[in-house]
């Protein structure tokens, strides 16, 4: 019985020591995991890539069925799956989520990738507006992405959109003032919104006479919401 008081802190110390091996040597690296959502709903598959701003190898991860991911460079930590870490610093993030494949090429050919469900801007490091700072230790990031529009990949008709955007942006200041927001919000809107405007208009354009107007309206409002949520 006399040894019991000493056994307990012994266990604690052992656990602490074991934890030191958690893959956080020197504070130079962080473990990056998180979740991917499309307009509020968890994604079911996909790929996410963290591109270091200072250059170097990108870290990738697969989005699991429950919407979660963990990224690693190459195979990551082979001894400890899930223990992969990447260097701390700034990253641009690209994400692609595809629908499940529904067709194969010819007889027994490879499956054709399903349509992409996430907006095309997230697919390229030059167009993505997602960026994160990875710090030492645990990093848990949640990404809520704008859904792709039904149009395959419309060329961005910026000039055509400008009129609409200007009008919508013009609605903003009154509400901004009411909410006490910064006065520069409308400008930020102009930068952030074209994709949304595009989403709204091309969805609407692709759905006329479908006999199913709700999805198009919804896609428009959802796209707008998702963009706003990014700003939180």
């Amino acid at each position: 019985m006399a040894t019991t008081p000493y056994a307990l802190p012994g266990i604690a110390l052992t656990l602490l020591a074991a934890c030191a091996g958690c893959g956080l040597p020197g504070g130079e690296v962080g473990r990056v995991s998180g979740t991917v959502m499309i307009e509020g709903e968890l994604a079911e598959r996909g790929t996410i890539t963290f591109h270091p701003a200072r250059g170097g190898p990108a870290a990738t991860g697969r989005v699991a069925g429950n919407g979660s991911f963990i990224v690693s460079v190459g195979q990551g930590n082979a001894d400890k799956p899930g223990g992969a870490t990447i260097p701390v610093g700034e990253y641009r993030v690209t994400v692609v989520v595809h629908a499940p494949s529904t067709a194969t090429l010819g007889d027994g050919g490879p499956p054709v990738a399903g349509p992409r469900l996430t907006d095309g801007k997230y697919a390229s490091v030059t167009t993505t507006d997602l960026s994160k700072t990875v710090v030492a230790g645990e990093n848990v990031f949640a990404f809520d992405l704008v859904r792709a529009t039904s149009e395959p990949e419309p060329a961005r008709a910026e000039t055509q959109e400008t009129g609409t955007e200007a009008l919508e942006a013009g609605d903003e200041p009154a509400e901004d003032v009411a909410l006490g927001d910064a006065v520069d919000q409308p400008a930020a809107d102009l930068i952030a919104e074209p994709a949304t405007g595009q989403a709204a208009s091309s969805t609407a354009a692709s759905n006329p006479g479908d006999g199913d107007p709700p999805p198009s309206n919804e896609a428009a409002s959802n796209a707008a919401d998702a963009d706003l949520e990014d700003d939180q």
Partner: protein, 155 residues
């Protein structure tokens, strides 16, 4: 006296274990589970999000086919104790696997009312205590006071 010192050691050990698990990103200090209903009927698909009202990570859960959910932070089940605002988004599956020209399918119809999409309008705020929490989300299709359906309502 002897018992007192044992308790002191025990709590020291417990503290060490808690500290160790936090440092490892292992189990969080709280869990949240529950059932999501709309007008009393379970919602059988969709996503629940717990937005921390403190410096922390979003916790999420997929709603299962009996309406249950279990909050997760990143890859791990559980979440940090604290104040949260909860949002719920559930859609019908898309009517078709692909849209026109093989493009992405249009989003399915919303099952949950729009105000539950945003933490500012959902009206669902909860304190998650250390340990296990049962948080049933009872949604209603009656709009909250002051709700105006506008696609640009957030600013």
């Amino acid at each position: 006296m002897k018992t007192g010192s044992r308790n002191a050691y025990a709590s020291l050990a417990l503290g060490g274990v808690l500290l160790a698990s936090v440092g490892c990103g292992g189990p969080f200090d709280a869990t949240a589970t529950g059932v999501v209903t709309l007008d009393g009927e379970p919602i059988t698909r969709g996503t629940v999000s717990f937005q921390p009202q403190f410096e922390g990570s979003l916790a999420v859960a997929r709603i299962d086919d009996s309406g249950g959910y279990r909050a997760r932070t990143g890859r791990e089940y559980g979440l940090a104790a604290g104040e949260y605002v909860v949002t719920v988004v559930a859609r019908e599956p898309p009517a078709s696997a692909t849209g026109r020209d093989g493009g992405p399918p249009p989003a399915g119809r919303m099952i949950t009312p729009d105000w539950y999409r945003s933490g500012q309008t959902s009206g669902l705020s909860f304190t998650v205590e250390r340990g296990s929490n049962t948080i049933n989300l009872e949604l209603s299709s009656d709009p909250p006071p002051g709700w105006k359906p506008s696609r640009r309502r957030r600013r």
